[in-house]
């Protein structure tokens, strides 16, 4: 929505095009300079930040809706995007007055008041999706009702709107659990990366320190990554080797890991 007319049309007719009571919130993870980042937005005149999100069109599938919302925010398609949980327990989601006030701050920009019985004030459950994006490729498109966008360090998040801190915590737990099942690093790192880059990524997702030499040995032994005959020149005496993921090896390693339990 980028004009006053589009926003007003959404306020007055959105419930005809979108399903009420349900939204999608996206936890968009990026990685830059050894830091795991999350994309947050600040709506018009709000103090608190929130996750980018949207509604499900009455004639689009849930997967189509999630991909459309993510593409609208990041200008990227064909991303790694995974549903992870539905949030429907927080009291803040069941409080019409609070929801109404939050919306009224935002929509004051176009001069409308959202009533207590307006479709936007109704109880809304939210389906959480997480995305892993190549930070450098994201071009955030400014939106009319959004005052500010920012990539926040995942380790230093502020207090967010609604239950969005809880949504991020759950996304983190999922990311941690899936780091052994999905090639998480593959989607967050550039195609060719250095050892310090992947080492710091795993340390920040798992919130744990790994000995760098053992970490390298283990990943190579498992066949998850392979060393390339290329180096990156980053200084007169610093030219670390580059590595890339071996997706087939990754899949085999994950399979072995599961079997090894028995």
């Amino acid at each position: 929505m980028n004009t006053t007319e589009e926003v007003l049309d959404f306020v007055h007719h959105g419930h005809e095009r979108y399903l009420p009571h349900l939204s999608i919130d996206c936890v968009i993870f990026g990685y830059h300079e050894h830091q795991l980042k999350i994309l947050l937005i600040r709506h018009h005149q709000h103090d608190r930040w929130s996750l980018p999100g949207g509604y499900i069109g009455r004639h689009e599938t849930l997967t189509e809706a999630a991909n459309r919302i993510l593409a609208e925010k990041t200008q990227l398609s064909n991303l790694f995007l995974e549903q992870f949980y539905v949030f429907g327990d927080s009291p803040t989601r069941m409080n019409r007055i609070e929801t109404q006030q939050t919306h009224n701050t935002t929509y004051a920009k176009v001069g409308v008041t959202i009533g207590e019985n307006h479709w936007l004030s109704e109880r809304t459950l939210s389906i959480g999706y997480y995305a892993l994006v190549d930070y450098l490729n994201v071009v955030v498109k400014p939106e009319y009702l959004v005052d500010e966008y920012c990539w926040w360090d995942a380790s230093e998040l502020p207090e967010l709107e609604y239950d969005h801190n809880e949504i991020i915590s759950k996304a983190f737990l999922t990311l941690r659990a899936q780091i052994y099942q999905q090639p998480v690093g593959y989607n967050l790192l550039p195609k060719k990366f250095t050892l310090p880059e992947i080492h710091a990524l795993y340390e920040s997702i798992l919130d744990r320190q790994f000995d760098r030499r053992n970490f390298r040995k283990k990943l190579l032994a498992l066949g998850m990554i392979r060393q390339l005959p290329e180096q990156r020149k980053i200084g007169p005496h610093r030219s670390p080797f580059l590595y890339e993921f071996d997706l087939e090896g990754y899949r085999r390693a994950v399979e072995d890991l599961s079997v090894r339990a028995f």
Copy 2:
């Protein structure tokens, strides 16, 4: 709903008490005589079976709704119950005419016709929950609109209503992934069990054969189960030892397993 009046009240006023567009479907796993089972129902005059489910009350949390629905079906509370996915992609869920016809077969029993614009005909996304229950403790309560209940062998399911086969496949994938993270066996087996019982359970969930002696050695070495100084008399020369789960040991083993990756 157990009387005609309750059903009619639900048809005419359900949308005032429940959120439209959203339901909960429960995949209830039980285990009996070395077979993994799933509880299915057959609605009035339907040929196909389906998963038990229900709607979310406007004033109850999502977790409360899931627990209430499961308690209504199984008469059990405090069960292992986990949300695993939202289903919103199947064309069969977006087809009003098909939904309307399905409902009309069911509600013919109380002499009402569901129109194309009735709240029950609207597009409904479904939140999948899976439950692990002690088969022997379940007392299924007959319901007015349900002709038949049955525990089906998980390996021999019929073609179900809507996208319910897909929901069960996803529940299975989740159960398999979580067998290493949750004490799945603990919730499906009786408190004290024999080695053949747990061996067959793991084999049927993971759809894979394990050498029985190595399986026992591994579980004991990991500290996941412990042998009891008790035997079960099942025949003149057959009195296998009993085992129980060590939940603390289970948690440690799962933790170790994750760390071992690096």
